[in-house]
Symmetry: C2
Subunit: 347 residues, 2 copies
């Protein structure tokens, strides 16, 4: 069944995954379309963003945000249209960004909505290059990474929503950019289309050696999205005074236990000490939400000037959100993953 005017399709969290999520962790249901009260708007989801952080919300381990409760709709950023408005700030037909979740319809009091220009050519870009992943790349690289012209910047998940922008912004800053990605196609794309200086395939047996050979001058900024064996290969190459923004650790999200020893925690701390390295985690809206305007105008200008390439991996239909999300955690997407949940206009 496609999106319609009669029911609200939802994907609920059915159970907490142990290791990689499976389809049985999700429950596809239909419910009534909610009715807005005075001051509220009824939103219809057009695009749903799928992002690695959602794996964390499926678990009840301590994290920076509350987990999704069992039986509740999965959370997520969406581009929506206002279908009905009882709020004077919004009109029917407005395009907005909302944290509306994996469902067709939701209510909002308007306080957390970002209104989009009706002229926006690609409203789904508000979930990527001009939204949370874009802000993540921009602030993580520029504010924490502090790249200088001539620095060597290494970025993992190099063709992903965040990594592809990190690398391109680093190139605009005058850096040498080495990507890390999974597979030949992604590596070719990073070099030929995104303009990275090199991109190393982490599936290759001699990945660590290839990375070292590409970073003859060491690494000044490592933008961490992945962790695991990718970080292991990066560690010995970090230069004195290197900066490591810790944005994500996708290789670890499905892990059920820590790896075997020895325990390298103290080795990492000794590396930070000896090489005067800064390693800093960040949660983009908590740390940088107040600088969204600065980011938006810079990115929009680069985009308009054709200085940034942006690739979406668009999946059709809410039902495909589940396999697409499971694949995202395995690196199967190519570009920013968004789900087309409904049409621009629903007759």
């Amino acid at each position: 069944m496609n999106q319609n005017l009669i029911v609200n399709r939802q994907i609920l969290l059915a159970s907490r995954p142990v290791g990689a999520p499976t389809p049985s962790n999700f429950n596809f249901t239909e419910t009534v379309i909610p009715k807005p009260q005075q001051g509220e708007v009824l939103l219809r989801t057009v695009y749903l963003s799928l992002d690695p952080y959602m794996r964390g919300r499926m678990s009840d381990a301590e994290s920076y945000a509350e987990p999704v409760a069992i039986g509740e709709a999965m959370v997520g950023g969406c581009v929506c249209r206002v279908e009905q408005s009882l709020n004077s700030d919004f009109e029917q037909g407005d395009w907005v960004v909302a944290f509306a979740g994996w469902q067709d319809y939701s209510l909002s009091d308007g306080s957390q909505l970002i209104k989009l220009s009706p002229e926006m050519a690609n409203p789904s870009y508000a979930l990527g290059i001009l939204g949370m992943p874009g802000l993540t790349a921009y602030m993580g690289l520029l504010d924490i990474g502090q790249p200088k012209a001539g620095d060597t910047v290494v970025v993992a998940a190099a063709t992903g929503a965040v990594g592809s922008l990190v690398g391109q912004i680093a190139k605009l800053t005058g850096c040498k950019v080495i990507g890390i990605a999974g597979g030949t196609d992604k590596c070719l794309y990073a070099c030929e289309t995104l303009g990275f200086d090199a991109c190393i395939d982490h599936y290759q047996d001699d990945f660590a050696q290839q990375l070292a050979a590409s970073c003859e001058q060491g690494i000044d900024v490592y933008f961490e999205n992945v962790g695991g064996k990718v970080f292991d290969a990066v560690m010995p190459l970090l230069n004195p005074a290197a900066r490591v923004p810790v944005c994500g650790l996708i290789s670890q999200y499905n892990a059920t236990h820590l790896p075997e020893g020895p325990d390298r925690l103290s080795a990492l701390m000794a590396l930070l000490l000896i090489k005067r390295i800064k390693m800093q985690g960040f949660i983009v809206f908590d740390d940088y939400g107040h600088r969204y305007g600065e980011f938006f105008s810079a990115m929009q200008q680069w985009l308009a000037q054709g200085r940034l390439i942006y690739k979406e991996d668009k999946v059709e239909g809410l039902a495909n959100a589940v396999p697409a999300f499971i694949g995202l955690l395995q690196g199967e997407n190519f570009g920013k993953l968004v789900v087309r949940v409904g049409p621009d206009h629903l007759a």
Copy 2:
């Protein structure tokens, strides 16, 4: 034999320690007093500073500085007097800070010397509160730690040269300060003399529980000097957006291998990510040498106002440098460790 005008007593690195240094790693010798060339000064060591970083210089593992070569004099910061000057910038009798090493006499071309005021009441303070350890405490806490009034600051090695200043500066900033030290006497001193809000004895079996109980509001700044089980107890208490200046890891300096697993490297990175924590190593003169003047005037003023307490652990005689240094790595010193190598005036 005491310091004299005839020979240059030296303590050389005889062999590289495996684990904790022993007296056999050092070699006490006598050699001729070097003669200055034009442009040089002959320095006589009055005080020698003993500091944990020296353990690193005894090893040939990769670090931020070259190791001491076997058969060469151990390196170290000293307060010296100019005994003979062929450099127009210095006069006989001048007090200077020099990286003169574990020996009575050394030469300098003047370029790395810091001249001290002849009125300085305690020239040895230039090796502690007004020197490298003071600058380390000041910049590590204020520039990397960024404490705000009301924050909870935890400092390990709380009565040491650096830790005692970190805690006192944090108190001057309006923070709640919890020290960690080895033994009842040090903990009493931290609370009663230095004015810390609490100090936990890491020799107690329930150390981690006591630390947690003292940090009801979590930890906003942890000044890392120690590592090991002290950091293990700190980790779960770190607040979102906490800052961890990594200044030293004294508990690890004598380690010969990594601890047993599991491998918690990824757990530390996940903690940084989830809690948006900044962890940053620094090497004080590389990172902050250019801000020495700013530090010196602030510290001198606090000291003159009686707002900072400073305790030295003074050892008499160059020959005692070896046991004192071995003890330093076991936490046996109480206050800043300095060796009185020679008298103010050598007749």
